[in-house]
């Protein structure tokens, strides 16, 4: 018997799920915020949800990170707890109520980061098999060098974002580049696998936003909503 993942089938709920993905410094959050304000100005019902933000578990995850005590698999499961909590509490109810749900990072973040940390690719996909398939996911592609410049212009890379737990390099800058390249490589594989739409993050904020709005309009039009 094969486990059927919800991630590969349309959700059939009245609402619309729009996600942004990409490594830090790709500008995805900026794009999502601008999009939200625009949708709100058009009187659309919108809610916003971020990765690792449920109050059920995020404190535990933060504490454990501080102490560097957990294995990649345990972290993966804790992030899945956080996601499952937000999915049931926020995302699905909002989709049922017909909202446009904007998610800053979705399961693809787990698929890229956890696999970059050595977690089995197939395993983590099955763990998240209960997730709802997004209507639209934009992947903002930025090179690890540009990401590093943007994130670390006035600070050094943090332990986990640099993948220092993997002991690739003692130099956090070097480690950051190697680790984030792995994450980007995983994202690239998902473009075909999950139909992520790739966006060149080097484009101007304005140009990216115009493109984003076009895509959102298309998706909403399929549901009979014209903006």
């Amino acid at each position: 018997m094969k486990y059927k993942s919800r991630l590969n089938e349309p959700h059939n709920l009245p609402g619309t799920l729009v996600c942004v993905e990409g490594i830090d410094g790709s500008g995805k959050s900026t794009q999502l915020v601008i999009l939200r304000d625009w949708l709100k100005s058009l009187k659309q019902d919108v809610i916003f949800t971020e990765w690792n933000s449920s109050d059920l578990i995020s404190q535990t995850t933060k504490l454990a990170k501080k102490k560097n005590l957990l294995s990649p698999r345990t972290f993966s499961l804790l992030h899945a707890v956080d996601f499952a909590d937000r999915l049931e509490q926020i995302i699905i109810p909002a989709l049922k109520a017909g909202f446009i749900v904007l998610a800053d990072r979705y399961v693809y973040t787990a698929f890229s980061r956890d696999v970059a940390r050595g977690v089995d690719r197939d395993w983590v996909r099955k763990v998240y098999g209960f997730a709802v398939k997004p209507d639209l996911t934009l992947y903002f592609r930025v090179s690890e060098e540009v990401s590093l410049e943007r994130i670390c212009s006035n600070r050094s890379p943090k332990f986990y974002e640099a993948g220092m737990d993997l002991k690739i390099s003692n130099d956090p800058y070097e480690s950051y580049k190697i680790f984030q390249k792995r994450v980007n490589d995983e994202y690239k594989k998902m473009i075909d696998e999950y139909g992520l739409i790739e966006v060149d993050a080097n484009e101007s904020i304005h140009k990216k936003q115009l493109y984003f709005r076009e895509k959102v309009k298309e998706v909403l039009a399929q549901k009979g909503i014209t903006l």
Partner: protein, 219 residues
């Protein structure tokens, strides 16, 4: 050369005692531990839901009644992953006899009753080493009820109150534990549990367990 013939390839042995709350697991585990120590082997016991960070998170979430069926499963899986990597595997590699109070079968039983797909559950735990021996202490619901009411009292989660089986606490426990027992029974053959009548007196159960464990140890 390894001390024992194990199923998982590690130096040590993995012995699991399964059963619902009130089935007498803890009593049998402390007896078995003492007996194995007397035979001059190193023994370590690890209980379900005891990892350093995650167990607290589970207890806290349960207290605040924040869990749904999926977060419930995943939190327990995280607890297990942490204990496996930090406690169980190091002990197995060092040649200990590891006695586990509950194992993945507990998750399979409870989470199936909470409506999860068994294939999804098996994937969550697919990296868990195969135990060398699994004892299952079988106790009918009516006796479990008496034991629990007489000791700890009926717990919200152990009564399956979160899944809305009945508004009556007693009835809910009866239905929930009954369903869990059904799941355990289905696993007896599938996983080769050694099923023991948990209503016998504790000395007799201990003797039966020791007779089986002797087959694994060179005593």
């Amino acid at each position: 050369m390894a001390q024992y013939k194990s199923k998982h390839g590690y130096e040590g042995l993995l012995i699991v005692i399964e059963g619902t709350d009130g089935s007498g697991k803890s009593t049998q585990i402390s007896r078995l531990k003492r007996w194995i120590e007397d035979q001059s082997y190193g023994v370590m016991v690890s209980e379900w839901k005891t990892s350093m960070f995650i167990a607290d998170a589970i207890n806290d979430a349960k207290e605040r009644n924040l869990l749904n069926a999926t977060t419930f499963s995943l939190l327990y899986a995280a607890d297990f992953a942490d204990r496996l990597e930090n406690i169980i595997l190091p002990a197995l590699k060092a040649g200990f006899v590891v006695i586990l109070d509950r194992y993945v079968y507990t998750a399979y039983a409870r989470d199936k009753v909470r409506g999860h797909d068994i294939e999804w559950l098996k994937n969550l735990y697919d990296y868990a080493p195969e135990p060398d021996m699994v004892f299952y202490l079988d106790v009918p619901v009516e006796i479990l009820l008496k034991r629990i009411i007489g000791t700890t009292g009926l717990d919200y989660w152990e009564s399956g109150r979160d899944i809305g089986l009945s508004r009556d606490f007693y009835k809910s426990f009866q239905i929930y534990q009954g369903k869990c027992l059904e799941e355990y029974h289905k696993m007896i053959d599938e996983y080769g549990f050694i099923s023991l009548d948990g209503t016998l007196n504790e000395k007799d159960i201990h003797k039966k367990i020791v007779n089986e464990v002797k087959k694994l140890l060179d005593v």
